[in-house]
Symmetry: C2
Subunit: 221 residues, 2 copies
Amino acid sequence: MNKTSGAVVLLSGGVDSTTLLHFVKKELGVSPVHALSFLYGQKHVKELDMACEQAKLAGAETHEVIDISFMAAIIGSASVLTREGGEVPDLDQIAESDRSQPPTYVPNRNMLFLSLAASYAESRGIPDLFYGAQAQDEYGYWDCTNDFLSAINAVLALNRDLPVMVKAPFIAMRKVDVLKKGLELGIDYSRTWTCYRGDTSPCGTCPSCVERKTAFEELEE
Amino acid sequence: MNKTSGAVVLLSGGVDSTTLLHFVKKELGVSPVHALSFLYGQKHVKELDMACEQAKLAGAETHEVIDISFMAAIIGSASVLTREGGEVPDLDQIAESDRSQPPTYVPNRNMLFLSLAASYAESRGIPDLFYGAQAQDEYGYWDCTNDFLSAINAVLALNRDLPVMVKAPFIAMRKVDVLKKGLELGIDYSRTWTCYRGDTSPCGTCPSCVERKTAFEELEE
């Protein structure tokens, strides 16, 4: 496979990955940019409408939504994000001791997403894969950390032909700083989706909503 | 997720993974064993019939075939194993210089398989995942090596709740030694499938057939 230019960007339609997409395109000046989203049985599938819209707004060359909703069967009842009838708890219902691996964690989801995206990138000769992982304020998933990123890149670096590299420029940033960057880039955050619950408007109390709200409040301080 | 007993075994229906399944069940005495296979758009889908048969013969508790045939679209034309109309070359048509990443290589396939299998295992509280990687004689894929195995385990070890561990007991063995082990375990290798081509009988000349034939010949020496 011959190496080409450009990058793949993982795009969920939330604050971090939307900012990343615009950042890669406008600030880093990468071209062409290929946005990649996953339908994995998440209740908050509305995020994918926002992803489609943002891919167009950012001028992505392509945007593909990969349907891996069979994941719901693989995961079974292990995550409230995919479990039928599973109720996403409010952040304040999650005990401190559970926050390192909360019920909203989807088993090994991010390794799977990155494996698929690396396969997609490698098959097209694209060397760079951008991932919107970001230092969480309330709790951190193990598969959003810098250690995780380094370990994934250590796997991919073994590829003898085209080692894809995962880049996560926001990994050490707080959400408020991601927002600042995005506002500089002219992003309209009313066209992003964060809430874990699948309702028509954001609940305001789930862990994701609280994090988003806190970041916007900090912006005004 | 509470830790349970047992193991997941990746089962393609070929010599190595079939031997592994019987080995884990009979020699290691692991119970229950959950066999996991993937339909990924491979031409040699016949291997899955053998996988189903072997799962029953070995007394696996469950056997699931996960349909990820959408992979063919992700990979595009990058592998002859999944490309429509793509012709699998004979081993002697592959130049020495191409053998470290030959046309039968499927971009990042094994990282994807292991990510999915780890997600499956973690969701069920199963700590061990067995993988039939084995030191190839004719050429080696980067994602069948011991370095690859170590790097994958370094990713999974970061999981704070249930780190799944990938075990590949045959990784340093030659195929002939895997066969010897399997024959001791009473495996009927006529009920396994190796040929990369999708014909009704094995071609005898593709890289996989040559490797298998060589191992059987060495057995008689």
